[in-house]
């Protein structure tokens, strides 16, 4: 009965969605939005505070927002405050995992799985490659698709590999805690530097450089590396909490 009610409710909501959006003059059909009248156009043209003319990859210098990757420009510059909030969401989630699963003395969860020598050695080799890819993605977040969150997830996945391939492996969790705390605090301090120097919290007060070069976009690559470290260490901590249990 419960399942039937749930199905009926879902169908009703689906029906409501279709009815309210079909022939709705305000809801544009896919692909027909006039972007020029919306905020997104200004993000593409980088002309919120000034008029830089045509934005050209590799040539435009010191734009109001420096990342060549427009998504990064929005996520980590125009709407950086949201990103700080998202970082906090992950932070409080990992705190919650530690609150519920963490105990004082921990040991690896007993599972009936004993990896052989080849798997352990092979995973160590892979670990380095995955870790480097993660760091690369985080560092190049302002130029190519990716950035701190996926980069951090890759860093954590390299830790997950070590945990899975070796039943006695434990990372130094204390180090992760310090990294997590330092990276988060540094993000806020960068924001406060913006407040003190430029007058606005999270304002990018460094030179934005040439669009598309590795050393460009001021604080953005630094912030993305910090986010990568924070996300990586937080998810690694979560993995550790899930794969350990109380004991000596």
């Amino acid at each position: 009965m419960k399942n039937f009610l749930a199905l009926a409710l879902s169908l009703f909501i689906g029906f409501l969605i279709i009815m309210s959006l079909r022939n709705n003059v305000a809801f544009p059909e896919y692909g027909t939005v006039n972007v020029a009248s919306r905020v997104s156009q200004a993000y593409l043209d980088r002309d919120v505070t000034e008029n830089p003319g045509t934005v050209i990859f590799g040539e435009s210098v010191n734009l109001e927002s420096g990342p060549a990757n427009t998504v990064t420009a929005i996520v980590a510059d125009y709407r950086s405050f949201d990103t700080l909030g998202e970082v906090t969401v992950l932070f409080v989630s990992s705190l919650g995992v530690a609150l519920l699963l963490g105990t004082k003395k921990q040991k690896r969860l007993e599972v009936d799985f004993h990896p052989n020598f080849m798997l352990r050695v092979g995973s160590r080799a892979l670990f380095g490659i995955i870790l480097m890819t993660g760091i690369y993605v985080a560092i190049h977040g302002h130029l190519t698709p990716g950035g701190g969150f996926p980069g951090g997830a890759m860093i954590a996945s390299s830790m997950l590999l070590l945990y899975l391939a070796n039943d006695s492996f434990r990372a130094k969790i204390k180090g992760f805690k310090i990294l997590e705390s330092a990276a988060g605090s540094a993000y806020i301090l960068i924001g406060l530097i913006g407040l003190l120097v430029g007058g606005y919290f999270l304002q990018n007060v460094l030179d934005n450089g040439t669009l598309g070069s590795l050393f460009s976009a001021g604080f953005i690559p630094i912030i993305y590396v910090l986010i990568g470290l924070k996300v990586g260490s937080e998810i690694s901590g979560v993995i550790d909490n899930f794969l350990t249990e109380e004991g000596v």
Binding site: L16, I17, S20, L21, N24, V25, A26, F27, P28, V33, V35, S37, R38, V39, S40, A42, Y43, V48, T49, E64, D77, Y78, R79, S80, F81, D82, L84, G85, E86, T88, V89, F91, V92, S93, L95, G96, L99, L100, K177, I178, E180, S181, G184, S185, I188, L189, G191, L192, G194, L195, G198, G199, Y200, F201, L202, Q203, N204
Partner: protein, 460 residues
């Protein structure tokens, strides 16, 4: 001093506190007190973040309305923390994040940023409620809260697809200047309202409340019923008065939801056998009443009513949950005669109850009186009738409860109330009486708040 510090300082403290767990409770206490002090030094302004003006960047709005909301939430938060921080050391970092999230929710002028802070403070609340030791209830809360905020997000996505902006002010302006019929935004607004309804305890989206508040402890009871209720109420009030446009069928649906919440909440409180259940059902009804007053356009009175209710709930839940902790359960029969030997606590409890009832001499009376007058002036007779009838029902079950708690001959329950708790409840109760007698500043504040119109559009 910028209002951004109210969000940033607790957040920074939370990030640092995980390294010095020993002192995290002290950090929490200092930071929550510092937020209250800081409120006195921040000017009213619109704060731009990142140097990009709204609607391109995110802004915070600190007007008279959000200032009074911040005062209420930060003071209540500090009081709850001051009483509990020693016992719940493990939660210190989470509580710091919660403070940042609640302040962010109240301040933000951006609809997506609001979602982010809803998530932040929501997750912190789910984690706090794990201390109730009722995992299933917490899981229920988690699922309902997440579905609620997803509905809010879905509504916001639709609005963004229609109007291409996330800023509240810009959104309201775009909607009002587009010239579209109001029906086009009805569905997204309804989704966002339901999303908020989950957190704001509106029926029928609030089945988590009984599991959470019905088994709450001294931290979670006051935190969810008082601090969170205040913050959510103020944010819902802002959206109702300044963004949402409810007319026609949609207005009917929303009013029906609110009216049903008021009547059903009071009815369930009337039938409840446990003290905490009486309190939680009555707070469902009050939350809906506040939303209704916001919806009717009496912003100032609604804001003050919200403060009166949540301050009262702080006293009620603190006392009830302390007694429950020591006695093992909260059946009325167990708590009978509780105040015979605890007169100070009993008087504060009684003041809070009478304030919620809206009896003369108390803060709640001034507000209910003015609300009724406003309704009469606009020739709405249905709502005054509903308010008066449910007040009678409220009166019956609350007075019945008070009589039980005050009178018993022998075999009295033994409960120790520590000094900090007594101090807090007495001061809050004294304030409720003070503003009930000295009404001029209350009426002035209500007028000031109603006069504020930062944003075009909305219901007003």
């Amino acid at each position: 001093m910028s209002a951004i510090l109210l969000i940033v300082i607790p957040l920074l403290a939370a990030f640092l506190s995980i390294l010095v767990k020993k002192y995290s409770a002290n950090i929490l206490l200092v930071v929550s007190f510092a937020s209250v002090v800081l409120l006195n030094y921040i000017p009213l302004e619109v704060i731009t973040i990142g140097g990009f003006a709204a609607p391109y960047g995110i802004n915070l709005i600190l007007d008279q309305y959000s200032l009074i909301a911040l005062y209420a939430v930060n003071v209540l938060f500090f009081l709850v923390v001051a009483i509990n921080c020693a016992k719940f050391k493990k939660l210190s970092s989470i509580l710091l994040v919660a403070l940042a999230g609640l302040n962010g929710m109240i301040l933000t002028g951006d609809l997506f940023n609001l979602f982010v802070f809803m998530e932040v403070s929501g997750i912190a609340a789910y984690l706090m409620t794990t201390t109730n030791q009722k995992p299933l209830a917490t899981f229920n809360y988690l699922v309902q809260g997440t579905v609620g905020s997803s509905l809010y997000l879905l509504g916001l996505i639709l609005l963004y697809a229609m109007f291409g902006t996330l800023n509240m002010q810009d959104m309201a302006f775009q909607i009002s200047s587009s010239g579209y019929h109001i029906a086009v935004t009805a569905f997204p607004f309804l989704l966002m309202f339901i999303g908020f309804g989950v957190e704001a305890k509106l029926l029928p989206f609030n089945s988590w409340v009984q599991g959470i508040l019905g088994s709450s402890n001294r931290l979670t009871g006051p935190m969810i019923a008082s601090v969170y209720a205040a913050a959510i109420g103020f944010v819902l009030g802002r959206l109702l008065t300044e963004l949402f446009v409810f007319e026609g069928t949609l207005l009917l649906i929303v009013t029906a939801i609110l009216g049903f919440s008021i009547v059903a909440g009071e009815a369930m409180a009337f039938g409840a056998k446990k003290v905490r259940e009486i309190l939680l059902f009555s707070s469902i009804a009050q939350a809906a009443l506040v939303a209704l007053v916001f919806l009717s356009g009496f912003t100032g009175l609604a804001a003050l009513l919200l403060i009166a209710n949540t301050a009262g709930k702080l006293i009620l839940f603190l006392i009830t949950n302390t007694a429950t902790d020591q006695l093992g359960n909260d059946d009325i029969s167990t708590l009978q005669g509780l105040f015979v030997n605890n007169k100070v606590v009993g008087v504060s409890f009684t003041v809070a109850v009478l304030n919620v009832l809206g009896l003369p001499m108390f803060f709640g009376f001034v507000l209910k009186m003015n609300i009724l007058l406003e309704f009469f002036q606009t020739d709405h007779l249905l709502w005054p009738a509903v308010i008066l009838i449910v007040s009678v029902v409220e009166g019956i079950y609350f007075i019945r409860l008070l009589l039980k708690l005050w009178f018993k001959e022998s075999d009295l329950p033994q409960v120790e109330f520590e000094f900090t708790l007594k101090y807090v409840v007495v001061v809050v109760a004294a304030l409720l009486i003070l503003f009930g007698v000295y009404t001029a500043p209350v009426e002035q504040a209500a007028d000031d708040l109603t006069a504020i119109q930062y944003i075009e559009g909305g219901n007003l």
